[in-house]
């Protein structure tokens, strides 16, 4: 019996040590990526190429989802606000929800599953097919040449995608509330304009998207680079990217929100 207890404690200990080791390894990898970013910044075409894959190719899913989220917000907002006779505030509600929360969070979740998983799978497969080893043998550092451009492309495209998500979401809310239901157009826009503060709402939202962009892309490149070089390894790494980034986005969102909006009346 005591042996079992000892073994149990040992296995918990092993897991904790493994997790901490992995966290340290990931942090070291993240630092190396930053240190070796010189090539990406000097040869910016490398980043632009990746921007096309991570940013431009994610546009469709971001825009369509943004439109629907905005439309749903318009419907639900109108439904609730109408009870208090405040249906003209529906524009405010749509805009604030999108700028502060839904824009950054939902677009980051979509970005993680669309672009993050693709980055992980691509780097993982490059490893599995010895492309990264070949690059090392050619005296070219794969972190500088493969990882860093993808990282910066993700960090740059995330805030832009989130901005487009929020913009088209507001338009979706407008379509439903004003065009479909018939809320007064003037009060829809003017109330929104009065209520939304550039620094408090827009800038804080942008800060969130930047943090999410860094987190998602850092996780995606790390998981790809660290993937076991087999089919199972790559599929496991892709799954871990989506799961870990989603949790990271939601966790970070709570932390950031509690710092940014706590005094809100």
């Amino acid at each position: 019996m005591p042996k079992r207890i000892v073994a149990g404690i040992q296995s918990v200990g092993h897991r904790v040590i493994d997790s901490i080791w992995r966290l340290g390894y990931a942090s070291r990898f993240f630092l190396l990526t930053l240190i070796k970013s010189g090539t990406s910044l000097r040869r910016f075409t490398l980043v632009i190429r990746e921007l096309y894959f991570t940013g431009v190719q994610s546009l469709i899913i971001i825009l369509v989802s943004g439109l629907f989220v905005g439309m749903v917000l318009g419907l639900q907002g109108f439904e609730t606000l109408q009870r208090y006779g405040a249906e003209s505030a529906v524009g405010t509600m749509v805009a604030l929800s999108l700028l502060r929360e839904l824009g950054p969070v939902v677009s980051a979740l979509l970005f993680a599953s669309r672009a993050g998983s693709a980055i992980t799978a691509e780097i993982g497969l490059m490893k599995a097919t010895e492309q990264l080893a070949a690059m090392e043998m050619m005296a070219v550092d794969p972190i500088a040449r493969v990882v860093a451009p993808r990282f910066w492309a993700g960090v740059i495209s995330m805030p832009l995608l989130a901005a487009l998500f929020s913009a088209i979401g507001v338009y979706g809310g407008y379509l439903v509330a004003v065009i479909l239901i018939g809320v007064d157009e003037g009060s829809f826009w003017s109330q929104m304009q009065n209520a939304v503060d550039f620094h408090y709402d827009v800038v804080n939202g942008i800060i969130k998207t930047c943090v999410f962009g860094i987190a998602v892309t850092a996780i995606a490149v790390f998981e790809g680079y660290d993937a076991a070089p087999t089919a199972e390894g790559v599929s496991g790494a892709t799954t871990r990217t989506v799961v870990t980034s989603s949790l990271a986005i939601l966790g970070l969102d709570f932390i950031l929100t509690s710092f940014m909006f706590r005094g809100m009346g």
Binding site: Q131, A133, E136, M138
Partner: protein, 270 residues
């Protein structure tokens, strides 16, 4: 100045954890030669290439390339010496997101400041050498296994290296591609005056093109000699390997408990 023997390996030991892979390997490889390293799967051949390329560090002993001890080099010095060597991976390891042209141009763009017009000429010359100038616009996914191997070969001679290491260059090729890749290795080695190390199981094809053969078994050099010496050899291991015999020093059966004991037959017929 490059010393006459480009590679010197002395007393090389390497182990993964407690498991020894290579035990006391000594080799010298001269400039302008094609050398084959043969041995069964898992005998440590690829590890030897990784040690020469500085991808792993030896437990003891050393590998000298062009007079420099590889594992003592710092990372930037290692990268400097790697520009003089090249490696052809088992399935080519072409960059799948780049075209054939860009794959061959990759090292020129990374390591030199050559103008794009000159890179274009050089790339087409390298592709011409492997007979694939007409395929420069294709993507790696559109190539057959043999063509991919030839593009990888063109890529590996991009910067005129002193040394090329080939990891199983003949695996999975049809007989025609096999002969083409084999004769290309020989011709390019002679034309560029470089040294080629070919790790392979393909005895018949490689004996046609190489100058010297090392056999590795259980982490030690079991035999070595010129192709003629190898063909005539009566050493049991070499004989089994060259003639592809099923049983010999390398046993057909993986070590196991007695058969009867595994089938739980012991005593049932007594």
């Amino acid at each position: 100045m490059v010393p006459e023997s480009l590679i010197e390996i002395e007393g090389l030991n390497f182990s993964y954890g407690q498991r020894p892979i290579l035990k006391g390997i000594d080799m010298t490889m001269g400039q302008g030669k094609v050398i084959a390293i043969m041995g069964g799967s898992g005998s440590g051949k690829t590890t030897l290439l990784r040690l020469i390329g500085g991808a792993v560090r030896p437990t003891s002993g050393y590998v000298k390339v062009a007079g420099e001890v590889v594992h003592k080099l710092k990372r930037d010095e290692l990268f400097r010496i790697r520009r003089k060597m090249s490696m052809l991976f088992q399935f080519g390891a072409l960059f799948t997101d780049l075209s054939v042209f860009d794959n061959v141009a990759f090292q020129m763009r990374e390591h030199t400041d050559l103008p794009e017009s000159m890179i274009r000429d050089l790339v087409l010359m390298k592709l011409q050498a492997v007979g694939l100038r007409g395929a420069h616009e294709l993507m790696p996914g559109q190539l057959s296994g043999g063509m991919a191997r030839r593009v990888a070969l063109a890529r590996s001679i991009a910067l005129d290296p002193l040394l090329i290491m080939y990891d199983e260059p003949f695996t999975g090729l049809d007989p025609i591609s096999l002969t083409v890749v084999g004769s290309l290795i020989r011709r390019l080695t002679d034309a560029l005056g470089m040294t080629s190390i070919v790790v392979t199981h393909d005895v018949q094809e490689s004996l046609k093109i190489v100058d010297y053969v090392y056999f590795i078994a259980d982490g030690v050099i079991a035999a070595h000699g010129t192709p003629d010496e190898v063909r005539r050899s009566v050493a049991p291991f070499v004989h089994q390997f060259v003639h592809g015999e099923e049983d010999g020093p390398v046993s057909f059966h993986y070590p196991a408990r007695p058969y009867a004991q595994d089938l739980k037959l012991e005593g049932s017929f007594a």
